[in-house]
């Protein structure tokens, strides 16, 4: 199988890898780089468990080819915390009991981060729209919506 070089930053760290041509970013991250915070829930683009942020935009890593990400800045939930200091979204999901099985959580947090990065004070409707591509089977979504709104409030308090 043909291998091609690809270079990008993952959560601020330079990565340079030879990947199989045509391999998805999902597989490159999980199997090559070892970032298993990115989950394979469907590989169809219908569940959002694999969502990552590429150059500031939410994308599905299962439908993105790794070699098209050359030079990109990629963010995943696996790189969101600074040591023991959690990102406000992570804190809000934890303290708000917004995670049960935890499988959808990393993708859900990426979807929420993509929202808050562009819109720090979202309405409930904005939050609903932002997570609409992410499936959660455990929580009924309400705790997740509340956690994202709580993180936004925490952000605004710390900014004030």
């Amino acid at each position: 199988m043909k291998k091609v070089p690809v270079q990008f930053t993952l959560n601020g760290e330079e990565k340079a890898e030879f990947v199989e041509s045509g391999v998805t970013l999902l597989k490159a991250l999980r199997e090559k780089i070892g970032d298993t915070s990115v989950k394979a829930g469907c590989q169809q683009g219908t569940c959002g468990s694999c969502a990552v942020i590429v150059d500031g935009e939410l994308r599905l890593s299962c439908l993105t080819l790794a070699e098209r990400c050359g030079g990109a800045a990629i963010e995943t939930t696996g790189g969101l915390a600074h040591g023991e200091v959690l990102h406000p979204l992570q804190r809000a999901f934890n303290e708000g009991f917004a995670t049960q099985c935890g499988f959808c959580t990393p993708g859900m947090i990426m979807a929420a981060k993509a929202l808050l990065d562009h819109n720090p004070q979202p309405s409930r409707e904005d939050v609903v729209e932002a997570i609409s591509g992410n499936i959660c089977r455990c929580t009924g979504y309400e705790p997740i919506i509340q956690a994202i709104l709580a993180a936004a409030r925490a952000n605004s308090l710390s900014a004030a």
């Binding site: 045509g22 080819l65 591509g133």
Partner: protein, 267 residues
């Protein structure tokens, strides 16, 4: 054999590569073709894509818009000059899909997808295929035959008059759900009556279709319950809705006039 990706500087070069390799598929945003590969479609082994600049351009000038086939739904949704189209662009997928899904890809999306193509059909858009203009209606009709495998460079259309573009999508799941019925319309009014109407449906056939009987029945009528009654009576004429996991053909046929009525007569 493993998969591979080949990137060409122009669409024309990509087209030549595709013509030369039966096991190659064009890769746009990836939402259709990469999924297919992930799910075990071994009918192709090469992704072919083009980096041509025009594919990602949006040009709005002199009352006309030209959108590159590689422009994503998210970009259209936030393009101020195309504000009227934002609801149609936002009807596609969730936020991540909209950052990936392209105008070109949407033209090929099978039912129950392809909501944006419904909007393009109502706008009577013209496609640039190999430098030749092709009406979107003709393209869609020949999507699996004469235009199978066509590489679309861009779509262009005359900007509709302010307030004349209407769009509605009924789905089971909110805010992101596959379509039960999608309706796009360009309805122009003069002196209280409809001077012209173009109506397009999604999910009322195996691809987006126009509703000529409705268009004829609306012409010259007022946008009132009485005025549109004749149009609603022929709403399903010429349709052949699919049955799928989202809805049955029967249901789609039953609710189409309801959604058409609600679109034409806003509360």
């Amino acid at each position: 054999m493993g998969l591979g990706l080949e990137t060409f500087p122009t669409l024309a070069a990509a087209g030549e590569a595709l013509a030369a390799n039966a096991a190659a598929r064009y890769l746009g945003g990836g939402t259709l073709v990469v999924r297919s590969a992930n799910e075990g479609d071994v009918g192709f082994e090469t992704y072919v894509t083009a980096s041509e600049r025009a594919l990602t351009d949006i040009v709005v000038a002199d009352g006309r818009a030209t959108i590159g086939a590689g422009v994503t739904m998210a970009r259209i949704a936030r393009e101020p000059a195309l504000g009227f189209l934002a609801p149609a662009a936002r009807a596609v997928g969730g936020p991540a899909i909209r950052n990936m899904a392209t105008v070109g890809g949407n033209l090929f999306a099978p039912v129950p997808y392809g909501d944006f193509a419904v909007a393009l059909l109502a706008l009577d858009a013209s496609l640039d295929i190999d430098g030749e203009p092709v009406a979107v209606s003709a393209f869609l009709a020949g999507r699996d035959t004469t235009h199978a495998g066509a590489l679309v460079r861009s779509v262009s259309f005359t900007l509709p008059a302010e307030g004349s573009f209407l769009f509605a999508k009924a789905s089971r799941v909110r805010p992101k759900g596959a379509s039960v019925v999608t309706i796009a319309a360009v309805v122009e009014e003069r002196a209280g009556t409809i001077s012209s109407a173009r109506i397009a449906y999604g999910c009322m056939a195996d691809r987006p279709i126009r509703a000529p009987a409705v268009e004829r029945a609306l012409a010259g009528k007022a946008r009132t319950a009485e005025g549109i009654a004749a149009a609603l009576a022929v709403a399903t004429e010429g349709t052949a809705p699919p049955t799928d996991a989202i809805a049955s053909a029967w249901y789609r046929g039953e609710v189409l006039p309801v959604h058409l009525k609600r679109l034409l007569l806003p509360a």
